[in-house]
Symmetry: C2
Subunit: 330 residues, 2 copies
């Protein structure tokens, strides 16, 4: 029957055309149906009442960092600090370097208290070495490493800011603890902090190292460290000290500039006293500072020169915590 | 006669040899005498009781800077400041941009009160323009320019430190006065300081400009400024303002980074109140800040975009004035 269509101009419109049109429409519907099958399936975690897909897996290698924390005999502090550090902005992953030889890691407990914001990997060590934390861990997927001592608490604000500073100075050690060496007329170097005389470059003090126990640096330096002369590794093993001094020598040599950039921390705390283990850090040993002066001179021998350079740049965050912290009398 | 020599072995030593030896000795003495004539003559100023030869003439173009100070109607302040600034370390030369049209410069008095540590050049202007100070003066022999307003006193310590910072950031404007722009939902920009809302990048404040009235920058930017579109020069002439905002736009566009690096001054003073002229600076005009917001938007139009970038880096001098100014609770 030809109702509506028959009224249209051109009597060629007939049943044949009607059939043809119907076939076309049906084919189009089938094709559309097939196409919808190709659409990406809606994942469970995009449903409103479920958790978001973890962002960290997709964060760019440049926009996030890996925390490496070596621990020995202070598991209570470790766990306290992990609760804090696991939530730092831009953190990609945590690597715990487990120097408690023969002791089980707290991994089970850790997992039972999940979920956690980022993956935490426990790297069990076979020998308790200071330089274990400087291995070139394949777990590190980011360009930046944040290295923290297991008794040091730095606020999230400080870390977020220092990370942004590292991104502007990626070849430097950007951190919170400055130290220096000074030379003496005898040619023997000494290691110390601000209590030592200024190196004599105009007024004010200078620093020539930034300690890696609270600092950001490029993950590539882990590989570089492994490539250093065996004598360097032997020195660190002999003293169970000075890995940070060695890293500063490495970086200074590599860049030809001061190894570190000092960021003045607003809130940095040493939690040593809070530990139940009764263990206090290596730096309490009587010979600690003398060892470090010894290391400076040994490293100068090994490298055939003094590569460390001085800097007096101190970086703070503009307008934080006090929004007028830059204000002056003018 | 043959006395001493005749006793020597070998009777060949005779008068002939004696003559020969004498001739050789005389020739050697003559040659030595001729050589001493070639030695550099000892200049008068190397004598212990005379002044040393001025160092500035031989200072490397990178190790010293040129002070450019524009002045209008505050000659008393100018002279006070010149006494201070003429002795700043690493200063090569002073250029005074004389905007007092038709008025004699104090050059005669200046010379009568010599000698001075560095040359001071008075550049007499024909029109009182704010942008006179941004001419590409051929007198500038250094890579760095220090630009100071004629009512601003910055301590020598601050200047020496900021100059050393500039040397590490030579493509930036390194100075003591940070400002920022903010954008608003309407797309119109506003200009201001810390009293404006933070631009919203995490916590703390940000700055996107460093004013050139107390800053170091590369002398090459003077040439660049002359090359800017005529509309930029016209804007500055129209407002008698905003030359510094324009310079920040220029530098930001050139580097693709934040234009300025802020160095927190220890001692910076505005001497406006001390002038006898009764003239107070342009920034007291009611429309001053509104003009600057206006300039920001005009410059965005001229450049077809907003090139300014934010930074929150605040630099201070490590260990100065307080040798433990970096110390923290740890």
């Amino acid at each position: 029957r030809c109702f509506h269509f028959c009224k249209l101009p051109g009597r060629v419109m007939g049943i044949r055309l009607l059939r043809f049109t119907s076939v076309v429409i049906i084919v189009l519907l089938l094709v559309a149906g097939a196409l919808t099958a190709l659409l990406p399936t809606i994942k469970d975690d995009k449903l409103p009442n479920s958790r978001r897909e973890p962002k960290t897996q997709s964060q760019s290698a440049l926009d996030s960092f890996t925390l490496i924390m070596q621990t020995y005999n202070r598991t209570d502090l470790l766990l306290k600090l992990l609760n804090h550090y696991q939530a730092i902005p831009h953190l990609h992953k945590v690597i715990v370097v487990w120097n408690n030889i023969g002791e089980k890691t707290p991994e089970e407990m850790w997992n039972s208290l999940g979920p956690h914001p980022v993956p935490v990997v426990f790297k069990v060590q076979t020998v308790n070495r200071m330089r274990n934390r400087l291995q070139n861990f394949p777990d590190v997927e980011t360009k930046a490493v944040l290295m923290m001592d297991d008794d040091t608490l730095v606020s999230a604000h400080d870390l977020a800011f220092a990370f942004s500073v590292w991104q502007q100075f990626p070849e430097h050690i950007v951190g919170f603890v400055p130290r220096k060496h000074i030379s003496t007329p005898s040619g023997v170097y000494s290691y110390g902090s601000f209590e030592l005389q200024n190196p004599g470059f105009g007024n004010g003090d200078q620093y020539s190292m930034v300690l890696i126990g609270a600092a950001f640096f490029h993950s590539g330096y882990l590989e570089d460290f492994q490539q250093q002369p065996e004598a360097v590794h032997a020195l660190i093993d002999e003293t169970q000290n000075c890995d940070d001094i060695a890293m500063n020598f490495l970086v200074a040599k590599h860049t030809g500039k001061p190894s570190g950039v000092f960021v003045k921390p607003v809130d940095i705390r040493n939690l040593e006293k809070d530990t139940n283990s009764g263990y206090s850090g290596m730096w309490h040993r009587a010979e600690h500072l003398l060892q470090r002066s010894y290391c400076v001179n040994k490293l100068v021998n090994i490298y055939g020169g003094m590569p460390l350079k001085y800097s007096n740049i101190m970086i703070s965050q503009f307008g934080f915590p006090n929004y007028a912290n830059h204000k002056n009398k003018m």
